[in-house]
Symmetry: C2
Subunit: 396 residues, 2 copies
């Protein structure tokens, strides 16, 4: 013990002297953000030479708030916030920058933000998105073979706590949106935390969650394959080059890998598929391509990948009804009787009307589905919520 | 195909209009950094209102260089750089910020930098640190039980390409330094890329690499366990609270998990241990605590965790020679005849003299070791190099 303490004090001294120039130590001793007991959040930035400092965040009425300065220290304390995961950054003299006192970042395509979580009670969404003192699942970045696409591809696999005891588990296949990659659901999506917490409290069945890369011309996330350290963009992976095969054509490669490498229950009762935006389109396509393969299907703010020559933004009840292939596929899916076809969307989502028309189309077919409408737009706050809801409905 | 193209063009339009306010799209179309064919690197920042913009990087003679402005676009092109992984950030009006055109960051404790890699030829260090078109190993974040420390703990495990074919593999246990965590070797350390590339070219044997968390009072990296989203600091995990047990006392929990969960060869010929700085101290301690357990031992810029009441910065030949416990342990380790005891350090490292005295001590014991001295100090550039060298020497 004495030894350890001496080691510490000595390294502390080193840190303050000879090593400082190597910039491997804390640059400041500020705490920011600080989530206070009353749900307010205090932000701090030491910037004595700055002229204006603002905090920009998704919890602010106008998106932005001015910070106040005293002796070079800029501070801002928010109103009391509802439980949620929130994002922010600072704007110093008009320039966006991350909070140097926080190491917690999220990336959405090329945009980085800091984030923090407000929790009030056990079981609220803040608590569900946090790492709690519960058994944790493992997260694997694995390379699977896709003969259909002619490449090895990277995906993220969550195995629940206790997986090593040898039991077999159901599988949820979970797709990201355009601009995302196989990292998206475990970073912005907090999928591992949501599953850990729902499973620990008995609200969801222990399950494996498979999060493939939905960009069919890429092997992996930017920087994780041989294309090099390129700059990702919103639709780059979909357009440049145009992929040779679709998600629905190549999906069997994913399922084959999962069912041969993990202890999984290999039947429709134990297979679910869900995805957000473009990944909602993948879910729509894969589920109708393979009727009887999945008992649980979840479309989160889905871009309905409508075929033939229609522009998917022009999808409407008439164009859906005119599509004979779609009609046959939806009839086949209906006949296969999946236990759950779940559609969730925000009331200000730009895909709201398309989803509304798609629901009308399904109504016309007397195709049963569950519908969930939330506040807000095409944002991760909704997708975390939809995963939370959907995960509690599957495999039961 | 037509369908996909229409999907793309439509989403592109959406991106430019209604969705822009959600900030999920590229903020600019600049490429920065751009590694040019001649090894120079061009940095770009669009900042029309900025007064001064500098690039700060470990490849610059004075650490910093002024960028030049034209129509609001600031640029700087470096000299031709030797193959290496380099770090940088911008300084705008005196304020540090990351390059908004690059998504490639590294974190060292609380300090973020952008990074890029310069490669000139196949097999140079730039190439070794890059993701190439070679078979890739999988990377797992797993939770193991440590009864000794009374907690479940998270670690990173690399399994080589082809691992799923059922063969058994040797294991390298690889420790990080103070302030680091179980993420360090696969981020700053590029361990997965180094191993992928060395294995693909036959320079290293396929092996499993186990990267535990060396902070004995923590379950996992900051934000990945129930302590919440705290701010990490250089020695926090070593000091607050002081851990109840040491790495050498709890190491058997790690080995037990690995040997019961992975296809591993369970003998000394197929066990190696190495680590950097504090992790070099862990390597020093674990290897002498368990003589005969490892045939390959690597001390990278090691903090020799010298016992009794000595301050480890005061370690010298005399204090080492006066330690009877150390003498017995080193005698036992010598008698166990490990195949390799490798010591690497930079010629300006603050631990250089201590390592020199430790080598003198080993010389006095006629304890055989290999010694490698590189340029520079206590930095990741050296630790990536040492891993590259060490990985080629083990299990052969």
């Amino acid at each position: 013990m004495k030894r350890i303490l001496l080691f510490i004090s000595t390294l502390m001294l080193c840190a303050m002297s000879s090593l400082a120039q190597e910039a491997i130590f804390n640059r400041n001793d500020l705490t920011s953000p600080e989530v206070n007991a009353d749900g307010t959040v205090t932000f701090r930035l030491y910037a004595p030479k700055a002229i204006t400092v603002e905090v920009q965040g998704d919890f602010l009425q106008n998106g932005k708030a001015a910070m106040k300065e005293e002796n070079g220290l800029w501070t801002y304390t928010s109103e009391s916030l509802a439980p949620e995961l929130y994002s922010y950054h600072f704007v110093v003299n008009g320039i966006d920058m991350l909070d140097p006192s926080s190491v917690y970042h999220t990336r959405d395509i090329t945009t980085f933000n800091n984030f923090f979580i407000v929790t009030r009670n056990k079981g609220d969404v803040g608590d569900l998105y946090s790492v709690n003192e519960v058994p944790h699942g493992d997260v694997h970045k694995v390379w699977y073979d896709s003969p259909t696409l002619g490449m090895k591809r990277r995906m993220t696999v969550y195995t629940p706590a206790g997986y090593d005891k040898g039991e077999k588990y159901p599988v949820l296949y979970l797709f990201h949106g355009a601009g995302g990659d196989e990292e998206a659901w475990t970073t912005l999506g907090r999928a591992a935390q949501i599953l850990d917490n729902l499973i620990a409290t008995g609200k969801a069945k222990p399950m494996i969650v498979v999060m493939p890369n939905g960009n069919m011309n890429a092997q992996a996330a930017a920087g994780e394959w041989s294309k090099g350290m390129y700059k990702p963009s919103f639709m780059q992976h979909v357009s440049d080059p145009v992929p040779t095969k679709s998600m629905e054509e190549s999906f069997p490669d994913i399922q084959k890998y999962v069912e041969s490498h993990y202890n999984v229950l290999k039947n429709r009762q134990n297979r679910a598929v869900a995805g957000l935006s473009m990944g909602g389109g993948h879910t729509y396509a894969v589920s109708k391509q393979y009727p009887g393969n999945f008992d649980y299907i979840g479309l989160f703010s889905a871009a309905i990948l409508y075929g033939i020559n229609a522009n998917f933004m022009d999808v409407n009840l008439q164009s859906l009804q005119a599509d004979q292939t779609l009609s046959r596929q939806i009839d086949a899916l209906k006949a296969a009787k999946p236990k759950l076809y779940w559609i969730g969307i925000g009331n200000t989502d730009f895909l709201y009307n398309i989803n509304k028309d798609y629901r009308s189309y399904l109504d016309g077919k007397q195709f049963p589905y569950e519908y969930y409408e939330s506040e807000g737009g095409h944002i991760w706050r909704n997708w975390r919520l939809y995963l939370t809801i959907f995960a509690q409905k599957v495999f039961k």
